[in-house]
């Protein structure tokens, strides 16, 4: 074994250049895989991890303010209940701290018992008065920490004693800032209450598998409790997890592609190296080395290169992806996986070490079945020459550029593997850019959501004709919107939107199937809702409205909508108001092209309302968009580096194998420029078809496939546009130029005499 080690170490030392190139390839492949794994694993497991850590209740029941004594006995009597705690949530409270302020804080007054959130820093609320816990999004955004002072409406100055996190909602600033106060604190300020009011109950059941029974029982015993709404832990998970669904699906696909490209790159590199060394291997075997010995030496050499390179790659990929992923998790109120990432990353390390190991050792082992003399006299080379014989019958390309092209096409398997790597990489980079561009569009342009109105005004429905009469207004109509719950699973919230007439004048998300609604008993539902509830055209949507009444609508059509992840239902105003007379109303205003907004605003102000600009998909969710965009950029950068490596690898292998050819050309008078032209021909042969294949793959396969994946949300045109294609092609051309110049420098640095020796 000592001999094997010495031989392997000698091999590494003798082939420093090739070793470095192989190590670079392994490191890049490992980085690419680790990046995808970190993001996908973190997001995929984020909710469960955070819910477990926060001890998130199985059900959160919200209801109109009730005395505790009225609610608690009914809750405690539920079958299979493990624990329950009660809170009083007050919204739209003014808070200030760290130089910031908000008038929309949600303050939760918590009683004794299980709490349903995790403490990330500091300590839980204690016995002292004037103490609060704040959620991590608020702490991060406002720069608060345990010990900071917060000024709260009614409570005055309070001390932050801890930072909390609960995945039952997204974090501030996506949602309102959350502050937790103990009941003892409020009682100290407002006086003791023997029977305090509550409006939220958190329920933990003994057997989550029998949650349905608990919910049925809870609904049955809820008589007299108004405004009762349940949100299950599963429902929260669906809402939050699916927000990152596209990214996870994309990254899982990227992991598979990364593995494939890594395998192809590393295997072709290893195969070329072994092919080059077959004569030496034959000689060693002729001198008495066994097949096992030479295979082991090759395997150990591959390990010496692979282990540190793979470790460095996994580390680099992890470091690159951790920052943006952690930011995204924070926005989703989820905790990073921490040490749980160890095993997935260890698997990445094992895979990216094993692939080059097998790719290096297997051909040597296989060559061992041949007599040593056959290896020494070039048995493999003879096979190659037959292929070369075929190659000259290919269409002739004239000149040095054409010769470079021919040198590359002579190695068809390698050419195919390089084309595969580059083509898929180009396609993925294009996909990332198309997705980022689409995200930006959805974030900033309401029209991308099918919204055709530009302003809303908080005016009664009766004001619509007056608003429509204003100069610059094309149309105005009352818009009603309520949040309902799916009557069956109770986990899905639905935005029910009603217009008195044709809603497509104001909101016209495209129809995915069916037709537009007619009459008060029909609805058009978003694709997201249709997928979650299994709705089809002709099905019935049963929605539990805030009034507690159930409304039923026949699904007339399914629309592509991104609002609320596609969990929307368009109905007629008459149908909605029949069951929910108190539905929130506002006037939706569609402006004429080139309308004077200032004049319209003045007119609305004269009517007593301040107009509000229509927001796009995310409104205040820029943080989420930024985090997603950062992740896409990281993946695209790693992918771009893989492209650069694959190009350099293809050229280096060609230049190494064809040292003698380059030497002959130089001996015939070719200078550095001619060598660059030769390599440019080689690069062009790889780059041009790969770019074309990548563009076609993205436009015809990946883009449409991802758009189908996103169909739960909306119809996204994910085909790369001309500008994205131009950017990628320009980047590709630069990469090719860098690779050509670098490899040409390496080739010219060698003496002609040395090159001629091969």
């Amino acid at each position: 074994m000592r001999g094997v080690w010495q031989e392997a170490l000698r091999g590494v030392a003798q082939r420093r250049g090739r070793t470095l190139l192989t190590a670079m390839g392994i490191a890049l492949a490992a980085a690419m895989l680790a990046t995808a794994v970190v993001v996908a694993y973190s997001l995929h497991t984020g909710f469960d991890r955070s819910a477990t850590r926060a001890d998130l209740p199985d059900v959160i029941a919200r209801f109109d303010e009730q005395p505790l004594s009225r609610v608690e006995p009914r809750i405690r009597a539920l079958p299979g209940l493990a624990a329950a705690s009660f809170r009083f949530e007050v919204t739209n409270i003014s808070i200030a701290g760290g130089g910031h302020s908000s008038r929309h804080a949600s303050v939760e007054v918590i009683g004794p018992g299980r709490r349903g959130f995790a403490i990330l820093a500091g300590r839980p609320l204690g016995a002292r008065n004037g103490e609060v816990l704040i959620e991590q999004g608020l702490a991060r955004s406002w720069g608060l920490h345990p010990g900071s002072t917060l000024h709260m409406q009614a409570l005055g100055a309070v001390r932050v004693v801890g930072i909390s996190e609960s995945p039952d909602n997204v974090a501030f600033p996506l949602a309102a800032p959350r502050v937790y106060v103990s009941r003892r604190s409020t009682e100290a300020r407002f006086g003791h209450e023997a029977d305090p009011d509550v409006n939220t109950a958190e329920l933990w059941v003994k057997d989550p598998g029998r949650l349905d029974e608990v919910l049925v029982q809870a609904r049955a015993t809820s008589y007299g409790i108004r405004g009762l709404r349940f949100v299950t832990r599963a429902g929260v998970k669906i809402l939050l997890d699916e927000a990152a669904g596209i990214v996870i699906a994309l990254l899982v696909a990227l992991s598979a592609i990364a593995l494939l490209t890594a395998s192809v790159m590393l295997a072709s590199s290893a195969r070329a190296e072994v092919q080059r060394r077959l004569a030496g291997i034959g000689l060693r075997r002729a001198l008495g080395a066994t097949r096992t010995h030479v295979t082991l030496a090759q395997a150990v050499e591959a390990l010496i290169v692979g282990v540190p390179a793979s470790a460095a790659g996994v580390l680099a990929g992890t470091l690159l992806a951790r920052g943006p992923t952690d930011r995204l998790l924070e926005v989703l109120n989820e905790i990073p996986p921490g040490s749980a990432l160890f095993w997935p990353l260890a698997a990445c390390f094992a895979l990216t070490t094993a692939i080059p190991l097998l790719a290096a050792a297997w051909p040597v082992w296989r060559s061992g079945s041949r007599p040593p003399i056959a290896l020494m006299t070039g048995l493999e080379l003879r096979a190659r020459r037959i292929k070369e014989g075929r190659s000259h019958r290919l269409p002739r390309r004239r000149g040095t550029f054409g010769l470079g092209s021919r040198l590359v096409t002579a190695r068809r398997v390698r050419l195919l593997s390089t084309l595969t790597v580059l083509g898929t990489s180009v396609a993925f980079i294009l996909l990332m850019l198309a997705l980022a561009s689409e995200l930006g569009e959805l974030a900033s342009n309401p029209a991308a959501l099918g919204k055709r109105y530009q302003l809303t005004a908080a005016l009664p429905a009766s004001s619509a004709p007056s608003v429509a009469a204003l100069a610059g207004v094309a149309a105005a109509a009352p818009r009603y919107e309520v949040q309902a719950l799916d009557s069956y699973s109770l986990g899905e919230t639905i935005d029910v939107i009603g217009y008195p007439g044709d809603h497509t004048v104001f909101e016209a998300p495209s129809l995915a199937s069916g037709r537009r609604l007619h009459g008060p008993h029909e609805t058009e539902v978003g694709l997201g809702l249709a997928e979650v509830l299994g709705l089809r055209v002709g099905s019935t949507l049963a929605a539990e409205l805030p009034s507690g009444r159930e409304a039923r609508f026949r699904v007339a059509g399914i629309v592509n909508s991104l609002q609320h992840d596609g969990r929307v239902a368009y109905v007629s105003a008459a149908g909605l108001l029949a069951d929910e007379p108190a539905a929130a109303e506002q006037i939706a205003i569609r402006l004429r092209p080139n309308a004077d907004r200032a004049a319209v605003t003045a007119g609305l102000q004269a009517l007593g309302a301040t107009p509000v600009k229509t927001s796009a998909a995310v409104g205040t969710g820029q943080t989420l968009i930024d985090a997603l965009t950062a992740i896409l950029r990281v993946v695209a950068i790693v992918n771009g580096l893989v492209c650069l490596y694959a190009l350099i690898q293809a050229l280096v292998l060609t230049a190494r194998e064809r040292r003698a050819t380059i030497g002959v050309l130089r001996a015939c008078g070719a200078g550095a420029g001619a060598v660059r032209v030769l390599l440019a021909g080689a690069a062009a042969t790889v780059v041009l078809p790969a770019a074309l294949a990548g563009v076609l793959l993205e436009r015809l396969v990946l883009g449409p496939a991802l758009a189908r994946l996103a169909a739960g949300y909306a119809s996204l045109p994910l085909g790369a546009g001309a500008s994205e294609i131009a950017i990628v092609l320009a980047g590709f051309a630069i990469f090719a130029a860098v690779a050509v110049i670098w490899v040409a420098r390496l080739s010219v640095a060698e003496t002609i005499v040395g090159a001629l020796r091969g």
Binding site: R385, L403, C668, G669
Partner: protein, 212 residues
């Protein structure tokens, strides 16, 4: 000229004060045992390598002290090299191998016509479209010679030009080299076979890093 190879303790002298002058139209053979330095001498004369000391002039142009770019231009226009193992590019046909130097930037005009003429003259026209591995050793050497001559050099350097050939093919190659001198070119051939060297106008023996 002087030339050493290796560094530190491993350094050893290959050429120690070699002087050689070859006239136009002269065929000079450098004879010597393996490792005597005769190939190194040829590489220096062909601007494939640089001497440690001394001066080299080819067709009135000094090679010493020139940039690599300038040397490449001299190799392209003034020097033709015939390699021991032919060094034909496997992906190109015989004819394309001959055409390679004519397609390099800075090559003299009329290369294609000269290539055709040489191929016909050397009698390899019927096999011009074949790949190197489909050619006999003699045919490969003729294409290699045609490639060396295609840019009309003043100096032709041949490294063991008959080393891989049978007696008949070796005789043909010697006749071709002789033919080059008759067209006014200087030819330097290195060989370790005295009977091949005997065909030259002048035989110089390489021993102890010097020309005798």
């Amino acid at each position: 000229m002087t030339k050493s190879v290796g560094t530190g303790r491993a350094a050893h002298r290959v050429l120690a004060g070699v002087d050689i002058e070859v006239e136009a139209g002269e065929l000079v053979a450098v004879l010597g045992r393996s490792g005597s330095g005769k190939s190194t001498l040829l590489h220096l004369l062909g601007a494939l390598d640089r001497p440690d000391g001394g001066e080299i002039t080819v067709g009135g142009e000094r090679l010493t002290g020139r940039s690599e770019r300038s040397l490449a231009r001299i190799r392209l226009r003034r020097i033709g090299f015939v390699f021991q193992s032919f060094q034909l590019v496997a992906e190109c046909s015989g004819e394309e191998n001959v055409l390679l130097p004519t397609r390099l930037p800075g090559a003299p005009r009329g290369g294609a016509a000269r290539a055709r003429e040489l191929i016909v003259k050397l009698g390899v026209d019927p096999v011009a479209e074949r790949s190197p591995h489909e050619l006999s050793g003699g045919e490969q050497q003729r294409f290699a010679i045609a490639r060396a001559l295609v840019n009309d050099p003043v100096l032709v350097l041949a490294d063991e030009p008959t080393g891989n050939l049978d007696t008949t093919a070796a005789g043909d190659v010697l006749r071709l080299l002789r033919d080059m001198t008759e067209r006014g070119r200087a030819v330097v051939m290195v060989t370790h076979e005295p009977e091949i060297a005997a065909a030259a106008d002048r035989v110089l023996e390489m021993a102890d890093c010097r020309l005798g």
